[in-house]
Symmetry: C2
Subunit: 218 residues, 2 copies
DNA sequence: CGACGGCTTGACGCTAATCAATATACGTGG
DNA sequence: CCACGTATATTGATTAGCGTCAAGCCGTCG
């Protein structure tokens, strides 16, 4: 059973809101360009966020699960610049920004939570930059899997045995690789006894080897 | 003559601080791991920020000039996770976080400025992800130059004629390319009449062509 | 049942990395 | 001041890694 992601901030069960919203697989919570009106915390399910550039190219910029905050990208300019799409039937808690602002005026620690969330998002982004700018393909996938595993553990799931909610293409988009490359990497990790892979089901057989893969050009 | 970057927020000339700090070329304002104690706005000069991963690999994650805010990455965890290094003799205004926090309690708009700054940083990061994840080498350099040009205009400099403060290697690190590739791209842009390049002096001859380069695989 | 979407695998090609040589500017100390 | 060593940039030759194109498999849904 899905655990309730850890409560990193007061957002999640704040009195700020009782609003919820359910989304079906494939449905968008918001799209790029939508006016920013609220933040969301994931209660149930799994999301991806996508950036689109002016040339129309699309790229997955992140994956979000229970406890994660969505929508921070809209805080600055009044519009979202990414889209958030549910990868399975999901539920979010809606935190209308107007309410949040009011609540923050009364409760300074909420504000600090918001800053912390924003800063976390910045740090996450820096990790991705590192990944995209400095790592080879196998290192990227290894790093992705380790990160995923760690996040799953934190939520009470198995660290070594899980079901991917996203397609090879989405993983590739996130990692700056093509889907065929991702597929080949899964196969080669399996051949080397690092993973067992069956479509979207992954079992990490040898974490050590996987970790070594993040640093080694081999 | 260097203009005073636009005042995007109240930070810059806020009463929050009169503190300044001067740095020589090559000097670090803060390093990865340093405790977070203050934000900084660039008054004069030019900075790069670098991420370092656990394997010791280093990567340039951004360039900062007059008016830009440095140090936001430290807000979340109490430690900086990037380093900020002056690429020329520079001066920053120091905004000790304790003072900022106090000031924000009294002035809610300061707080909104901080959020806006954080959100801007997030948006910037998303742009870089797009660049690293989806663009070919020539597109990356073109995108970099256009962005640089735009930021220079906003500060009252020439949009088409400027001096790069960073080395080929630093550009490459930022763009996820090797320095030789960057050098070759400069040469090929020059051959095609898009740029004139003499070491670190760049003149954009044909902005249109340069812009076309951002989207075209040609 | 057939069509379609997601995954795997192979063969081939191209882009950018690597390795290497040379050139130029800069700072340092004699 | 010049000589030297060092950092930076350019360019060429070669190679490796990932992308592209293509075929086939499996599971699902209409």
């Amino acid at each position: 059973m899905p655990a309730l992601g850890e409560c990193r901030t007061q957002f999640e069960d704040s009195q700020v809101s009782g609003l919820r919203r359910r989304l079906k697989r494939g449905q968008a919570l918001f799209r790029a360009g939508d006016p920013f009106s609220a933040l969301y915390t994931v209660r149930q399910g799994f999301f991806k966020t996508c950036i689109v550039d002016d040339a129309g190219r699309e790229q997955v910029s992140g994956f979000y699960m229970a406890g994660d905050t969505l929508g921070l990208d809209g805080l600055g300019m009044g519009n979202h610049d990414v889209a958030a799409v549910a990868l399975e039937d999901s539920e979010v808690r809606v935190l209308p920004f107007s309410m949040l602002e009011r609540a923050m005026r009364e409760n300074a620690s909420l504000l600090r939570d918001l800053n912390a969330e924003l800063a976390r998002e910045i740090a996450r982004g820096q990790g991705v930059m590192m990944l995209l700018g400095s790592l080879a393909s196998a290192e990227r996938l290894a790093s992705f899997l380790i990160g995923l595993s760690q996040r799953l553990v934190a939520r009470g799931y198995s660290p070594s045995d899980f079901h991917l909610r996203m397609s090879r293409e989405e993983i590739g988009s996130y990692l700056g690789l093509k889907l065929e490359t991702v597929s080949r990497l899964f196969s080669s990790f399996a051949r080397e006894g690092v993973l067992e892979v069956d479509k979207r089901h992954v079992r990490i057989v040898d974490v050590r080897k996987l970790e070594r893969r993040v640093r080694s050009p081999a």
